[in-house]
Amino acid sequence: MSAGTTTQATGQGTAPAPAGRASHAPVQPGVPLLSVQDLTVGVRPSRDRTVSIVEGVSFDVEPGQRMGIVGESGSGKSLTLRAIAGLLPKPVEVLSGRVEYNGVDLLAMPAKKRRTLMGPEIAMIFQEPMTALNPVVRVGDQIAEGPRRHLGLSAKEAGELAVQMMARTGIPDPARRARAYPHELSGGLRQRIMIAMAVSCGPRLLLCDEPTTALDVTVQLQVLRLLEKLCDETGTSLVFVTHDLAVVNQTCSELAVMYAGHIVESGRVKDTFRQPRHPYTRGLLESAPDFDRPDRLLIPIPGFPPNVSDRPEGCPFAPRCGYVRPHCTEAMPPLAEVLPGRLAACFESDRLDDEVLA
């Protein structure tokens, strides 16, 4: 239970800071905090056959950076996140690629060692706080479990830390609420409990899987503000998966758009929304109602996303794409730099040079 095993001999031992900060491994200069390289996730229906759901996904997250991954259901965004956390549901597995955290490949690491990173280094927030929390354990004890295990706190210290964390996430009357069971709390409070649990060991990377989708709009704003505040205070990096473009616009600085298992465009959020260079990104922006431009005509994307087992040859978006040319159906376009700091996987990217959100 000592923190020393998890943090590769930083010499900090088990003396915890009151805010619940773990002693981290030193930051490797010049190495991104998280580096996903050519990650392919899928299933093996038989020994010699594989079906990939996420294909060749690569991206980096620098310390303190906030990265949003958007896509429709079935685009592979959640599986990408779960592959990073090592929480893929059976029989889905990582087929190839690397997931490097602070320069170390998580996939090559023994499962036991990898688990010690979950909490003090990497933490995850799920969409459904009701199913992610243990229904028969008091929420305070659930928050305290991480600090006890990873920071080596005593039950009493960890309990106090749990109440502190609950207060920091804006839960009113935290001492009393710590003794509640999940079902006794509202959806917003449960989501705050999950956030308190995730940040209790002071992780450097927070993985969020649609953390506000199940919440009401006024509560969503509160939770997004809270996440922002906590990340500002501790310099935590964020990988934020959602289908809501506006939520990404308000929380993240970097963006990756996924379609049918591929990243089709990535870049800075504001730049990408102003001038998308992939027809799918553009289609998403044009089909979603925008509160600030109510009279704009919505342009739906024709058709629907391909089935995982039945993806078309070449560019997966080609059958729905208005810019399609014959060569699009022959080969998958590589994710290449089309503007400084912007990558797009489209042969016809140059034809999308006008601005959408002027």
Binding site: H243, V247, N249, F273, A288, P289, F291, R293, P294
Partner: protein, 347 residues
């Protein structure tokens, strides 16, 4: 306009709800009384007045637990109200629906994956309804089915198919065709696009808009996504804890909200444009439990404008402008706080 109480009842409406109340008693056995610490009454609807005009899309927005879906259930007759009246096209709808009164109000549900029977092919789903309600003679059932499918943008060849062969968006089209088959007076759509992918939502929203313009269909559109509502609806009713707190024309509601809850909702919308930043008319906490509705104005514990009178008086829905009603004692005060970054087109 200030001071007039209820809206003029002469206004034509295809669906009218007056003083509708729904209470659920928690179990009366001694065990459940013990568990709840005495008696508990859940007030899902607390005196709802609402009317849908012919050929309009009226959006009903509110957070979970505000009573939107309970209202929908009462309107289609799948549950009964504790008190109050529902009338369809001027005639009171009986609490226990007969064939005719259930035909007149139809519903499209949120999840098209669970609202279509997986074992009934599309053709049979439609013909069953057409024959039961004697919409067309037997010889014309097929032609009518095809007409319905074309109406929602599908082709004749889907008649023999099963729901599992369709994507979410197409299933929602089928659900709409089924609802329209019996030629209802009003269509209730309960979050019809929130289970769909973003790129597909637009086609279904367009379909609703087309049905309204071309068939003159009246739609009560229940939603929580305000950007969707703003895009589609003619009027908007905002619901909070079982009561309508504001009703207005869509543009009016979003540019000049006269209830602090509406204002808070607007300021909570995640925005796409970087210049539009939520200004922080932020409400504290979450909606209280419908088991324990606050005394006075039900919004006062979360309201930044609340004062002593709000804790003591329960404000009724009053006219605050032409076709604009608000249940707030401080509606006048709120009008003086401008909404920042209102879309230019709406000014």
């Amino acid at each position: 306009m200030n001071g007039t109480t209820t809206p003029e009842t002469s206004e034509p409406s295809v669906l009218r709800v007056s003083a509708l109340t729904k209470r659920y008693e928690s179990g009366t056995s001694w065990l459940s009384r013990l568990a709840n610490g005495g008696t508990g009454t859940l007030t899902a609807l607390d005196g709802v007045d609402l009317h849908v005009r012919p050929g309009e899309i009226l959006a009903l927005v509110g957070e979970s637990g505000s009573g939107k879906s309970t209202l929908a259930k009462i309107l289609v007759g799948s549950t009964t109200a504790s008190s109050g009246e529902v009338s369809v096209a001027g005639e009171p709808a009986p609490a226990r629906r007969d064939k005719e009164s259930s035909r007149r109000v139809q519903m499209v549900f949120q999840d098209p994956y669970s609202s279509l029977n997986p074992r009934i092919p599309i053709g049979r789903m439609l013909s069953e309804l057409l024959l039961l309600h004697k919409i067309v003679p037997r010889s014309q059932v097929r032609a009518e089915s095809v007409r319905l499918l074309n109406l929602v943008g599908l082709e004749e060849d889907v008649l023999g198919a099963y729901p599992s062969q369709f994507s979410g968006g197409q299933r929602q089209r089928l659900a709409i065709a089924r609802a329209l088959a019996v030629r209802p007076e009003v269509l209730i759509a309960d979050e019809p696009v929130s289970a769909l992918d973003v790129s597909v939502q637009a086609t279904i929203l367009d379909l609703f808009a087309t049905l309204r313009t071309e068939l003159g269909l009246s739609i009560l559109f229940i939603a929580h996504n305000l950007a969707v509502v703003q895009h589609l609806a003619d009027r908007v009713a905002v619901m909070y804890l079982g009561r309508i707190v504001e009703v207005a024309e869509t543009a009016q509601l979003f540019t000049e909200p006269r209830h602090p809850y509406t204002r808070a909702l607007i300021d909570s919308i995640p925005r796409m444009t970087e210049t539009s930043v939520n200004d922080g008319f932020e409400v504290e906490g979450e909606p209280p439990s419908p088991y324990d509705v606050p005394a006075g104005c039900r919004f006062h514990p979360r309201c930044p404008l609340a004062s002593e009178i709000c804790r003591e008086n329960d404000p009724p829905l009053l006219a605050v402008g032409p076709a604009h009603e608000s249940a707030c004692l401080k509606a006048g005060e709120l009008a003086l706080i401008p909404v920042p970054n209102v879309p230019q087109e709406h000014r």
